[in-house]
Every structure is written in C-alpha cells, then in structure tokens.
Amino acid sequence: MRFLNKITGLLTWLLPVSILFGVVAAWELWVRLADVPQWQLPAPSEIAKELGSSSDLLWDHTLVTLKEIVVGFLAALFAGLVLAGGIAYSRVLERSVYPIVIASQTVPIIAIAPLLLIWVGYGLTPKIIIVALICFYPIAVNTVDGLKATDPDMVNMLRTLGASRWQVFTKLQIPTALPFMFSGIKIGVSVSVIAAVIGEWVGASEGLGYLITYSQPLFLTARVFAAIFVLSVMGISLFMLAVIAEHLMMPWHFNEKRSNSMRQL
C-alpha cells in the first residue's frame, strides 16, 4: 500500500517532467536538423547559454518586475480582503459597491494602462496599479463567496451560545472563507506576472517585460526566450509560495480532505 503510494507519487512528478523534457528535446532537434536561424527560433541550448551570459542583466530586470508584482499583489490583497469583508458584513455595501466591483472587470485593463502613464507617470507606480487592479478581482470575489458560504446551522449554534453578529463574523465566517480566499489568491498570483508584463509593455525603462519589448526588434530572440523563462519560473514560484501559505494557515483543511479520501478507499 505504502509502496504503491510511493510509485503513484513518483509517477505524478515523472510524467509531466518527462513530457516537458520530450518537448524540449524535440525542439532542440528540430532547430538543429532544419537549420532554423537563431533570430527566428533559438534552440533551448542557446536560451540556456543566454541565461548564463546575461544573468546580471536578467537579474536586475527581474528584481524590478518582482517588486511591481509583490507590491501590487499585496495592495490587491489588502484592498480585496477589506472590501470583501465589508460587502459580506453590510447589506448596504453589498447592494452599492459589489455591482461596481463586478462591473469594473468589464473594463479592459490594457486600454487603461496607457492612461495610467498620463495620470501617474512613467515609473513603477502605473505597473503596480495594473497588477493590483488585475489581482484584486479574483481575491475579492472569492472571499465574498467564502464569507457567505457559512452553514446556517453553525450560525444558529453560535447564536444559541450567545454570539454577537461580529463574533459570528470573526469566529465562523472568516475561517470558513479561508479556502475560498486562497483560491482567489492563487488565481491572483498566477495572473500577476502577466499584469506586470502588460504594464511594462505599455511604457517602461526597466523590468522583464521591458527587456522583451526592447530585445525583440533587435532580433535578440534568445534573450526574449530567456526573459520569458525567468517570468514563468517567477510565476510558478509565487504560486508555490501561495500553496505553502495555504497549508500553513489551514492544516485542518488538508488533513480533513486526506482523511476523507482515505475513508473512501
């Protein structure tokens, strides 16, 4: 049983890794055999070389993009949670603010991005705002859903124990909302990288998105790919950080799931 578990555990890692490896190998072979020019499609080995040779350059731009993402994401998290709390707690806010929050998502952020340059200038601020605007929505909407997902029997139980409305909110609604909030955070984190790149495309002088737009017309295609590679590593790492935070904050959630699936076996 334990041995079987180990094997299936290994397989879940081995399968995607070997598929990825196969794709990369095919890519390398194709470029070499068909003699594809470097500026059109560099071989993976060339991209790896580029990662090494311009690591200083990449690192500098990575720090800029990472800063935009982290600050923007934290702002979105704060705003999203406060607003979600307000919407779930107050019917007035739910009726007045929530529709606006939802409508705000229909506004194309890419169209706003150039305007932000006019309004707040050329520096990090417009990128941070774009990241925050994009991350905010999944966090807020998921958390609102979570805060409203409470079991009415639980609410009644708390009321018979003499709980006030505020106590029901803090002792029941907030913990119930945590798994939902983390779903929102994971979506937010995933799109935050894209948001930062969009922000830099519109107008920037630093950052990985800028590096891509700058390198492309110069046909430094290997560098473009290297920047893309760093961006996806960044995205995956941030996502894993969110998953780790999720496990640390809700050990009960995952143990419960595990014990339920064990029972089904």
Binding site: R159, A163, K171
Partner: protein, 280 residues
C-alpha cells in the same frame, strides 16, 4: 404533597402556534402546544417526522418566534425577559443532531467556544474544559482536530461545549440520531449517568421510543403536522436506571402505551400520503 419545596417550572409553554410557508402554501406546524418542564426534570418530546419538534425547540432556544402563545423560561442568572426570542437566545444550552464542531479548532478549543464568546480568557477556559474531558470521554484527544474523532466522540465534544456554558436548561435535538445503534446505546447510558450526577433540566427530542422512556421522567407525544400534544406519559421507573431496563416488563407496558398512538399516527400519515400520491 408537602409544599415546603415547591416544584419550580423551568419552562412553561402555553398554546404555542407556528406556521410556515412550505412549498408556497401556508402550513401550520405547531397547533397550540402546551408543555411544562420542572426544575431538574428530564423530558422527552417524541413524534413522527415533520411534527414540528425541532421548531418547538428552536422557539424555546430563541432562534425562532412563535406566531402566538407564551414561553416562559425561569432562570436565576438572567435579567433578560424570556417572553421574546432575543431574550431567550443564549439562555439555554442547545445541541443538535449535527455536532457542528468547527473543523479549524481542536477538540478542546471547540468545547470552550461558548466561554470564549462570553469573554473568558482562552487559557482559563481551556483549564475549565480540561476538568471535564475525562467525564466526557475526550481524554487524550483534546488537541486533535474534529475530523480525527469518531461520531460518538464528536457528539460528546459538542455536548461538553453545551454544558460548559453552565445553563441549567439543556435542549437536545436528536443528539444521537446520526450515530450507529451500538454507539447510541453507549451514549444513552453515558448521558443517563451524567444527568443523574448533574442538576440539569433537559428537554430531549427523539424519534426513538426506547431512548425517550429510558432517559425521561415524562414523555410528550406530538401528532403529525400540525404538531399538538396528544399524550403525556409519566415514566415512573426507579432511578438510577441502566440500559437493562429496556427489557423489563414495566418498560414494556409503558412502551406499549406510547407505541399505540404513535403507530396509528404513522398509519394515518401513510394513508394520507397514498391518497395524495406523496411519500411520507
């Protein structure tokens, strides 16, 4: 009867009516229920499903307001008026069929929930709860999360949460309904023992005739919807009681008296269900 220690009614319910809109139709759930529970008594309410038992308990607990009728709760440590639902909220211990333990809290922290809401510091509340974990069969599991516990243990944890509030009136809504038969018998014996050692007034809702007779001083039988008291049976079996009592002839006599009206009611529900094409 000597009157030097007058028996105090703890709960007095006079002609309580309640109707709800069910499937778009106004339906009467309780049609004038009268009920009295004296201090220290164990009273059971039994009846077919849908007779409004839980509604009645919700009304006593203050979760719901009756359309008409009076409810009085006498309790020494309250200045709130018991005539209104909000005045009754938090004045009784209330436990439901579902244990309703919070999955993110350890067993111990679940049991102190009520104390915590009342403002008792966590450390002090935990110490208070620890004194009872043995009697409630939770020793060694205080720091486990609820999912790791058996159904019986979870129910006992929920019961300890209720008891720690120190309310002298405790309402139990089919607390053993979700347990398997063996665990249920164990829990009944355990509750019997616990109640005999504590000075609590208990109202138990059940659909289990044996459970009602074994535990109670008095059993109220409700009719099918709309619920109305159709029989009040005093259970004058000696205490302390044990589960063996269930097989004794005296128990059988009482059971027969309770079963007969119950059975005829179930039959009338079934025939009504057939005639309207519904399943009971």
């Amino acid at each position: 009867m000597s009157t030097d220690t007058p028996v105090q009614p703890k709960i007095r319910i006079d002609s309580v009516h309640k109707s709800y809109v069910i499937d778009g139709r106004q339906q009467e759930v309780l049609a004038g229920v009268d009920l009295t529970v004296n201090e220290g008594e164990f009273v059971s309410i039994i009846g077919p499903s849908g007779c409004g038992k839980s509604t009645l308990l919700n009304i006593i607990a203050g979760l719901d307001q009756p359309d008409s009728g009076n409810i009085e709760l006498s309790s020494e440590n309250s200045d709130k008026h018991s005539g209104t639902a909000s005045g009754r909220l938090g004045r009784t211990g209330y436990m439901q069929q579902k244990d309703l333990l919070l999955p993110w809290r350890s067993v111990l922290d679940n049991t102190i929930l009520g104390l915590e809401l009342r403002g008792v510091p966590r450390k002090q509340a935990r110490e208070q709860a620890m004194e009872f974990t043995e009697a409630f069969g939770l020793q060694g599991f205080e720091h486990h999360y609820p999912y790791a516990l058996s159904g019986g243990m979870r129910q006992r944890a929920a019961f300890l949460r209720t008891m720690l509030m120190g309310q002298d009136v405790v309402l139990l809504d089919e607390p053993f309904g979700a347990l398997d038969a063996l665990t249920r018998v164990q829990m009944q014996e355990w509750l019997l023992q616990l109640w005999e050692s504590m000075n609590k007034t208990i109202v138990l809702i059940t659909h289990d005739v044996d459970e009602a007779l074994l535990l109670s001083d008095r059993v109220y039988l409700l009719t099918a919807r709309p619920g109305r008291v159709t029989l009040v049976l005093d259970v004058d079996l000696p205490r302390p009681r044990h589960y063996d009592l269930v097989t004794s002839p005296e128990f059988g006599v009482l059971k027969a008296r309770l079963m007969e009206p119950l059975r005829s009611q179930i039959q009338s529900i079934q025939s009504a269900g057939r005639s309207t094409g519904q399943t009971a």
